[in-house]
């Protein structure tokens, strides 16, 4: 049996995993990264639009700061987010974007003087100040009150991932590519590594570590139509779930992006609408102002996607052989702007649609895009139920996004979480519980159990892994999508349970040594079904509408009953459904008590404690002469939760350090 030892095992080589690895290396620990693919091909590379950080360099960002970013994020989450975590995040995002600038990311910069932009369909001249010239530029994104999204043309994720990936190489972090973690190694309540399959040779290897970090990204491929890469299959969530003790938080919170190109689902960035692009229907009518007079195309993603689906249902979609869709019109932005700032969009339109977006409209339809739910952790990234297990990035639910993530907050989250969680992982390893002693028999048994499961798949079962996978994706897309209701979700849960049972009888035809892609599909689909069931069961149980979770039979947000985070665990491996429990959010301590988001429906059911909390927050805000930092501390102290190196304020052009 082959065993690899390291201090910190990071499962996942995307932005989050790599930044954690660099952080722990800097603290003098060894880190080893596992990745299904060469790390620079992780899905982070596909982020186009940008990264939110409240720098306030541009004219349209003036007045932006942590407070505004905080409120936008909490409103965006429909009050599902953990507010102290949001605070930690917004205070660290400016530091993260500046660190990346120092690591070489070629952020687009502010140019002084006049420039023409399109806002709300109108040509407007903006004047950038001399003082801001050469600082990082920001663009507009949905659900934000200020222009806050820093960007590198529309290759932001690529440039970030290459810079962080290069830093990992510079720090000597080994990345074991084409290695897949299949199960966590666990000694009672202590995580001590993982059982890993080599995707090129098929060999099983044990990785033993003092701390283990899951940074495996999202689970978009549970759906048939998704913007996600083909490797985003929720395997990190499954790793956690199969321990039986680690909970997944809010898995029913799934984001659908308004502008997947139709029918392939490939994303065109929100930056298209941020930069002035419009949504049009079959008749060419710009319909979003009819539904959302305030924010129009730039309401939050859940709202825009729902309005699009609603408009299509009313019969206004443009017909095509693949079904109805709507149009994204960026022609009015002009060729020069598209060539400079929306190049990936242009390439995607050219290669996949044969369309020039400077001249023709882009066919779009909402598509699954982001997994708000994930492995439930504390603000430190550590699992509250399995010591030594941490999680960061899209795989985690520490819970920054609640029921809807704002565009640009995710790549920001990956690096911010990497900076924060990396420090806590290092603290953990260097602290009292940081050492492990693990019997080799335990490791051997864990490897043998995985081998037995693989052998069973090769043992002559009759079901086809591919067929089950396609059926699962169809059920998720048809029944656990943008519009949900009890009857349809019940059918979804039953269908997924039946598929789970069938997946236990999968027979893989080829047992050739080496990569064996059919075997990979087989063991993954068994795990994917469990994650899918967490989503469907969570959605069925949650009898309200919040953020991206929209129940037609319960269309109102119900704070009185559902200001709760869903926790799904899978204690019995033979079960066909997860066990659901709930964790209440504390209104009494919220800095921003629940209210109307500023867009979307205005009909929520109030939590009994909201008025009292709102009154005390109002009273504090009314105290004259209180500096915003002091007011904030008054309302909800959080800085002590951050690692000391990240507790400081952020300088801005208009706001010198105290």
């Amino acid at each position: 049996m082959k065993i690899v030892y390291t201090d910190v095992l990071v499962v996942g080589g995307g932005l989050a995993g790599l930044r954690v690895a660099v952080g722990v290396r800097r603290r003098g620990l060894d880190a080893l990264v596992l990745s299904l693919v060469p790390p620079k091909r992780s899905h982070s590379a596909a982020a186009q639009g940008g990264m939110q950080a409240s720098l306030a360099n541009t004219t349209k960002g003036e007045g932006d700061n942590e407070d505004v970013h905080f409120e936008d994020t909490v409103r965006g989450s429909d009050w599902g987010a953990d507010q102290p975590v949001v605070r930690m995040f917004v205070n660290t995002a400016p530091k993260a974007v500046r660190e990346l600038a120092a690591w070489g990311v070629p952020w687009s910069r502010v140019r002084k003087g006049d420039r023409e932009v399109i806002i709300n369909g109108q040509r407007v001249t903006l004047t950038e100040s001399e003082a801001a010239h050469g600082l990082l530029a920001q663009r507009d994104f949905g659900g934000t009150r200020k222009w806050r999204t820093c960007y590198v043309s529309d290759g932001t994720g690529h440039a970030m991932l290459y810079a962080v990936g290069d830093q990992a190489i510079a720090h000597g972090v080994p990345v074991h590519e084409r290695k897949e973690a299949l199960a966590l190694l666990r000694d009672a309540d202590r995580c001590c590594g993982a059982v890993v399959r080599d995707l090129a040779t098929g060999e099983l290897v044990a990785y033993v570590s003092r701390a283990t970090v899951i940074a495996t990204g999202g689970a978009g491929r549970l759906y048939r139509v998704t913007t996600n890469a083909v490797i985003c299959e929720g395997m990190g969530a499954a790793l956690a779930l199969e321990t039986g003790v680690v909970a997944l938080g809010n898995m029913e919170a799934v984001q659908f992006h308004p502008t997947g190109i139709f029918p392939a689902g490939i994303l065109v960035t929100e930056g298209c609408r941020g930069d002035g692009g419009l949504l049009r229907d079959a008749a060419g009518h710009r319909f979003m102002p009819d539904y959302e007079p305030e924010k129009k195309e730039l309401a939050s993603r859940d709202v825009v996607s729902r309005r699009m689906a609603e408009h299509i249902r009313k019969g206004h979609g443009a017909p095509s052989r693949f079904g109805p869709h709507l149009w994204l019109d960026i022609t009015q932005l002009g060729r020069a702007h598209i060539d400079r700032n929306l190049r990936e969009v242009k390439e995607i339109c050219r290669y996949f649609l044969g369309v020039d977006p400077a001249e023709a409209w882009i066919p779009v339809h909402p598509a699954q895009h982001y997994t708000m739910g994930g492995i439930r952790t504390r603000h430190s990234g550590e699992s509250p139920t399995l010591r030594g297990l941490f999680s960061a990035g899209e795989a985690a639910c520490w819970d920054l996004h609640g029921f809807n993530r704002l565009g640009g907050n995710s790549v920001a989250e990956t690096v911010v979480a990497g900076m924060i969680v990396g420090e806590f992982v290092a603290d953990f390893c260097q602290g009292p519980g940081g050492e492990i002693s693990i019997p080799t028999a335990l490791v051997r048994d864990a490897v043998a159990a995985q081998q037995a499961a693989l052998d069973a798949l090769l043992g002559g079962g009759t079901e086809s892994a591919d067929a089950i996978r396609v059926e699962m994706q169809q059920v998720m897309t048809d029944r656990v999508g943008i519009f949900r209701d009890g009857a349809s979700l019940t059918l979804a849960v039953e269908a997924l349970e039946a598929l789970l049972l069938r997946s236990r009888r999968i027979g893989v035809r080829s047992n050739a040594p080496g990569p064996n892609p059919e075997l990979v599909t087989a063991y993954r689909v068994q795990r994917m079904l469990k994650v899918a069931l967490c989503i469907a069961c969570g959605a069925l149980a949650r009898e309200e509408s919040r953020g991206a979770h929209f129940r037609e039979d319960f269309p109102r947000r119900d704070d009185a009953h559902w200001l709760q985070r869903t926790l799904a665990t899978w204690p019995d491996p033979a079960a066909t459904r997860p066990t659901l429990a709930y964790e209440p959010l504390q209104v009494e301590s919220m800095e921003l008590p629940p209210g109307w988001r500023g867009y979307g429906e205005r009909n929520h059911i109030e939590h009994p404690q909201t008025p009292a909390r709102a009154a005390s927050v109002e009273a504090a805000r009314a105290i004259p002469g209180l500096h915003r930092y002091d007011l904030q501390r008054e309302l909800m102290a959080y800085r002590h939760l951050l690692p000391p190196s990240l507790q400081g304020d952020n300088e801005r052009l208009g706001e010198p350090l105290r």
């Binding site: 050469g134 510079a170 059919e518």
Partner: protein, 242 residues
């Protein structure tokens, strides 16, 4: 409407892990669908005809660089290649110059990491690191755009696969490597001097090994200005080495 086209896909097959496997071409028939890319064609093939076929796709949107392969003699990204742009007979081979994993899957990741380590192809920033609470250092907006232009490389390996020099010198860093040096050389945040860059690429495994055949430039899926960059770097290195 005319009947859909039948496509003959001749796919390179070999599994080096299997002693019984020998390299050969296997032919599959696929019915063309509107908007079908090689990603869709190969995925359908694997779902319906041959679950053992190995290939690499990740983003399937032309962004991540995983799916470089030789399509009818030319290295390109399979995910964004529409079958309708190709004749009805399509031959797919793995990228040469990289270790074969199986079928169309090659290990370009290890190659890229080794190249990056050899060329120290990361930003060598000034010490100490800046205070992250402070305003970021300024940069001319045009210069930032120019750096991004070179930063767009996706390490897909097409340039290496198309390179005549690589066939003769296995230690040649390829256009991908030279472009990285050009990128960091352009970046004022990188503290290295031309003399230090010369130590990295001033030999025959670097910029002077290039035979200027420039297939790299022609096949680059991101249309990077490789030809000008290599010529420019060569002049700069001549001066640095003089």
């Amino acid at each position: 409407m005319s009947a859909p086209r039948q496509i003959r896909l001749n796919v390179f097959r070999h599994n080096p892990q299997d002693p019984a496997s020998t390299p050969h071409l296997q032919t599959y028939l696929v019915e063309e669908a509107p908007g079908m890319t090689l990603f869709l064609a190969l995925s359908e093939l694997r779902e319906r005809q041959d679950p053992s076929l190995a290939f690499d796709f990740v983003c399937r949107a032309g962004i991540c660089g995983s799916c470089g392969m030789v399509v009818n003699g030319r290295p390109r990204l399979a995910c964004r290649t529409l079958t309708q742009e190709l004749p009805a007979e399509i031959t797919l081979l793995p990228l040469p110059a990289f270790a074969l994993i199986a079928d169309l899957s090659v290990d370009s990741g290890s190659w890229m990491r080794a190249m990056t380590e050899r060329l120290q192809a990361w930003l060598h920033a000034a010490d100490p690191a800046p205070d992250l609470s402070r305003l970021e250092a300024r940069m001319d907006p045009d210069l930032a755009d120019q750096i991004y232009e070179l930063d767009r490389c996706i390490e897909c390996g097409c340039c290496v696969a198309a390179c005549g020099t690589v066939q003769m010198r296995h230690d040649f860093v390829g256009a991908v490597g030279l472009n990285k040096i050009a990128r960091f050389g352009l970046d004022p945040r990188d503290t290295r001097s031309d003399a230090e860059f010369y130590d990295l690429v001033g030999g025959d495994e670097g910029v002077f090994g290039c035979m200027t055949l420039l297939a790299c430039h022609d096949v680059c899926p991101k249309e990077l200005p490789l030809q000008t960059q290599i010529a420019f770097l060569r002049r700069r290195m001549l001066r640095a080495g003089a």
